[in-house]
């Protein structure tokens, strides 16, 4: 066992870890941030996406030891301190970008990484970027629509809610 300190949503969290402790387990079990989900545990589904030093990664496929000293943002860090939703979260709510909500934390973290890189993505660019985020409920349509809306684009011409 060794100690690791990871800054989670701005607050340093120090805990004992093993070499094999995954970042997602550190976040859920040591930092008690359970918004980050484990859908597959095989690097496929993207429910566990968080930002490490500003970069989107699958936290089920990174060791906590490798994030020692890093800044991590999880879905809990996306809303304002007063609980107000970020633009992407509000757009997911407005455009029904979720049904059961299991994939949503990963979707929002991937979407926010995309909009940082590409503030006005096309529909095709959004779909390509979300290849590593799987949703079993929505059929993706309203997720894509929500991300276009969050980037300030007109979505009235996109059919079906």
């Amino acid at each position: 066992m060794t100690k690791a300190t990871i800054t989670v949503n701005g607050k340093p969290v120090t805990a004992e870890i093993e070499g094999r402790t995954l970042l997602v387990d550190f976040l859920r079990e040591k930092a008690h941030k359970t918004g980050t989900h484990v859908g597959c545990d095989t690097s496929q589904c993207g429910a566990c996406v968080v930002h490490v030093n500003g970069v989107a990664v699958k936290s089920c496929t990174m060791f906590a030891a490798e994030a020692d000293g890093a800044e991590v943002t999880t879905i809990e860090g996306m809303a304002g301190a007063d609980g107000s939703l970020s633009a992407i979260q509000a757009a997911f709510q407005e455009h029904h970008g979720l049904q059961c909500g299991f994939c949503t934390p990963g979707m929002i973290m991937s979407a926010s990484a995309l909009l940082k890189e590409n503030p006005k993505p096309t529909e095709a660019e959004i779909r390509h970027y979300l290849e590593g985020n799987i949703c079993r409920c929505t059929g993706y349509h309203n997720i894509v629509k929500a991300i276009m809306a969050a980037s300030g684009q007109d979505v009235t011409s996109i059919a079906a809610e």
Partner: protein
């Protein structure tokens, strides 16, 4: 996962020393190794993380060669490899963004998955794999399924790609894994054309020499028309049989050449 320690050396020398311990293994981006560890298909006593070694990261152009650090992520090659556009495009279509933010070129080449993308680029470009102790030509490096010329504990520190006159990679995506069902990399150099095929052979990446000869004489998609890729030794799985893969090799080769025009 079985238990192991993780160390994070800052230099190649420290990493080489750490890897000389019994059952120590290098950890690149972990995008292949961590899933393998979860399945208990590997049981190292220690993982030596290469991600803290700054000297192994980055892309730079040296004359007509693109030099990529062994610890450079696919995402960085996609955004900074513009001097070799076909290679940057290949990197930008590996897996998904989160995988590209962690996975490294050194890890991909060391792993030599028979369906991985980079091995075809390295073989078609006649790249040189540079390790902590020597330089290995791509033609000598790939030695079969998940097998390479690397010795135990040897680290890929960089890869040198001669920049071709024209090149293109065509990947027929296997949509569940996002690896190549078949991928063909065509690369035209002053001394001829090289065609490397991934995702098809039971022995991993290989050169399609008939197409190379035909294309070196006449670099046009028609040059491949009269050829048939042999289905002998090609993979058969639930996604496609050997004959289907052989057919794809020809189709993708033609598309790659057409895209170079």
């Amino acid at each position: 996962m079985y238990a192991f320690d993780v160390t994070r050396p800052k230099t190649v020398d420290e990493a080489v020393a750490a890897l000389s311990q019994e059952d120590a293994q290098a950890l690149g981006g972990g995008q292949t190794l961590i899933p393998t560890l979860k399945q208990r298909l590997a049981s190292p006593s220690a993982l030596v993380s290469l991600t803290g070694i700054e000297d192994m990261k980055g892309v730079c152009q040296d004359g007509d060669t693109l030099v990529i650090g062994g610890g450079t992520t696919h995402g960085t090659v996609a955004s900074e490899g513009g001097a070799y556009p076909a290679l940057a495009a290949l990197a930008s279509n590996i897996g998904d963004p989160a995988v590209r933010n962690r996975g490294t070129i050194g890890g991909s080449l060391a792993n030599n998955d028979p369906s991985a993308c980079y091995p075809s680029a390295a073989l078609a470009s006649n790249a040189t794999i540079v390790t902590n102790s020597r330089e290995i030509a791509a033609d000598d490096y790939f030695q079969g399924l998940f097998t390479t010329a690397l010795d135990e504990g040897e680290i890929i520190t960089s890869v040198r790609f001669p920049i071709p006159q024209a090149a293109n990679y065509q990947k027929f995506v296997q949509p569940a894994s996002r690896f190549a069902l078949v991928g063909v990399f065509v690369s035209k150099h002053a001394d001829g054309v090289r065609v490397a095929v991934t995702g098809a052979s039971e022995d991993g990446v290989f050169r399609w020499s008939d197409a190379e000869d035909a294309l070196s004489g006449n670099f046009s998609p028609d040059a491949v028309d009269g050829l048939t890729a042999s289905a002998d030794g090609l993979m058969t799985d639930l996604h496609g049989d050997a004959e289907y893969r052989a057919h794809l090799i020809k189709v993708l080769t033609k598309r790659a050449v057409a895209a170079c025009q």
